[in-house]
């Protein structure tokens, strides 16, 4: 299998199975996609369709004893599937950043944000503490966080969800990752914060050319951000197309169903037909 230099992440024939007491269950199967630098791939589907399992298997975060991952996951020409935990730790955070759904749970409550930020930077680079702090402040400024020097001394519970999510994006961006996996980055946030967070995510993308795998069940997020969209159902990708093509002429029945199921506003038309 030849690897294309222009593809930063290539997932081929991904199968994930879980071994349970009553036999083997397939969680996701036949997942194929690739990411070019600076591209955003939206992954949509209902809850429980395997979106998160896909992202976890890319990061090799699934329990290795209970799950088997087949297929190939190529990051810049390096095979990730089956890589030793020690090697994987060097990749997570540095080459692949992960932005989780709930920022409140993603941080340790017992350390300050600065501690966690600097720890992340120092474990991947040879910067000393002072340089790391400077880098942290610099990347926090990028996401419009006010007074970053003071924020670093705060504990996670002292910040609001929207702010924490921006800190998480700052951490993810500070090491200029090749790929960012954003797993429902706005679901836990207030509507007013959602656009802000997405805007910063896009800024990181355009500045460092990171490719983003954007996982969401919200079609609004996908239509705002994605270049390409993959629709998942029951652990399979049922349709993959450019975002305009998918919204204009969906092919698969399930995609049509999804598009019809979103709450619509019809901003241009009079609201009378809504009731």
């Amino acid at each position: 299998m030849g690897t294309d230099k222009s593809k930063v992440l290539q997932v081929r024939d991904l199968h994930v199975q879980i071994k349970a007491k009553n036999g083997i269950t397939t969680l996701v199967q036949d997942i194929n996609f690739e990411l070019k630098p600076g591209e955003i791939l939206g992954l949509i589907g209902e809850s429980g369709c395997g979106k998160t399992v896909t992202s976890m298997s890319i990061l090799q975060l699934l329990n290795r004893k209970e799950t088997t991952i087949e297929g190939s996951i190529m990051l810049k020409g390096q095979e990730l599937n089956g890589l030793a935990e020690k090697e994987m730790r060097k990749i997570r955070g540095k080459d692949i950043a992960f932005i989780m759904q709930n920022p409140m749970n993603a941080f340790t409550p017992v350390f300050t944000i600065g501690h966690q930020f600097v720890e992340t930077i120092r474990s991947h680079t040879s910067l000393n503490k002072k340089q790391a702090t400077e880098l942290a402040i610099e990347s926090m400024k990028q996401v419009n966080l006010p007074d970053p020097g003071k924020l670093l001394k705060y504990y996670p519970f002292q910040l609001s969800g929207g702010m924490l999510q921006r800190v998480m994006i700052a951490i993810a961006a500070s090491l200029h990752p090749a790929v960012i996996i954003a797993d429902e980055p706005t679901t836990a946030l207030d509507v007013n914060n959602q656009k802000n967070v997405l805007r910063h995510l896009d800024k990181i993308r355009s500045e460092y050319g990171s490719a983003i795998l954007l996982i969401s069940h919200d079609l609004g997020v996908v239509s705002e951000m994605a270049d390409e969209v993959a629709v998942m159902q029951h652990g399979k990708i049922v349709e993959k197309a450019g975002v305009f093509q998918l919204f204009d002429s969906p092919k698969h029945e399930y995609t049509k169903k999804l598009l019809n199921a979103r709450p619509t506003l019809y901003l241009e038309e009079p609201m009378t037909n809504l009731i």
Partner: protein, 273 residues
């Protein structure tokens, strides 16, 4: 007479010491007045911390406001006698956001839905079971779900059970406090459609608390906007909301995500590197 009338309600949370009210209390609702007519839905929009949920609690009779009164069918719910209040309880139901924490994990779906029936209706066991099955079918579940426990349902299904429990006594008003916010988009739309159907069938009224403008527009007849404890706008139709010039409302409208990539505002051009 309106079904529910809220008159100049003011409420604050404060820390009380043994001897005096400290003057550090934080005002969460100030001077709020509105009414809900029978068979209509009022959508209450607001950012987090605007006082939406407190207003919901005040209406339900769970949080006595510092000033003002809540008139439900003409009765002030905080001063009526016990007997009338019990009757009001029956007509005033609630569905919360977190479906799992709103049910007893040790009860089956049948018992969860039957609980209000046991309290208010004198039904034989067979009749009760029939009513429960009817309710389950109404919300899109079936007889097979009777003996299941909460952990065996998905979030959307459990929210349906919560709704079934709320409508079991054919109430007049249901307070929906972020009832669809934690569900995924498809489930959200299905639940909203179910609520709309139930509204027609039973002539229900809703007080729909949400921060999701799209959801509010799908179900509401009138809309209110709360900001820092004040009811800054009250619209009789959705059109008024979309043509309002109020800066807060404008900002809210600006936060709606595009429905189609044509209208996207974050990534205006696809700039590959």
């Amino acid at each position: 007479m309106s079904l529910l009338q809220v008159n100049e309600v003011t409420h604050s949370y404060g820390n009380r010491t043994f001897f005096k009210w400290q003057n550090r209390s934080k005002k969460v609702l100030s001077d709020i007045s509105f009414s809900i007519e029978e068979g209509t839905c009022l959508g209450m929009l607001g950012t987090s911390g605007a006082g939406k949920s407190t207003l919901g609690k005040v209406i339900l009779g769970l949080e006595k406001p510092k000033h003002g009164q809540i008139l439900f069918q003409g009765h002030d719910i905080y001063t009526v006698d016990k007997y009338t209040r019990q009757k009001i309880r029956r007509d005033l139901q609630v569905v919360f956001q977190d479906s799992y924490s709103a049910v007893n994990p040790r009860m089956t779906a049948e018992r969860i839905i039957a609980e209000p029936l046991e309290n208010y209706e004198k039904l034989t066991l067979a009749e009760q079971k029939r009513t429960v099955i009817e309710l389950l079918e109404k919300v899109g579940l079936g007889e097979k779900d009777l003996k299941k426990y909460p952990h065996q349902f998905s979030g959307g299904q459990l929210q349906r059970i919560n709704i079934a429990r709320a409508v079991s006594l054919k109430p007049k008003l249901i307070v929906l406090d972020e009832s669809v916010s934690s569900l995924d988009m498809v489930t959200q739309t299905l639940i909203l459609e179910l609520l709309r159907e139930l509204k027609e069938d039973f002539g229900l009224s809703y007080f729909f608390i949400t921060h999701d403008i799209k959801a509010a527009c799908m179900i509401s007849d009138t809309l209110g906007v709360l900001e820092k404890g004040e009811l800054i706008e009250h619209y009789n139709s959705k059109n008024e909301f979309f043509s309002s010039e109020n800066p807060v409302v404008k900002e809210m409208r600006g936060s709606i995500l595009a429905e189609h990539p044509r209208f996207r505002s974050i990534r205006t051009k696809s700039n590959y590197i």
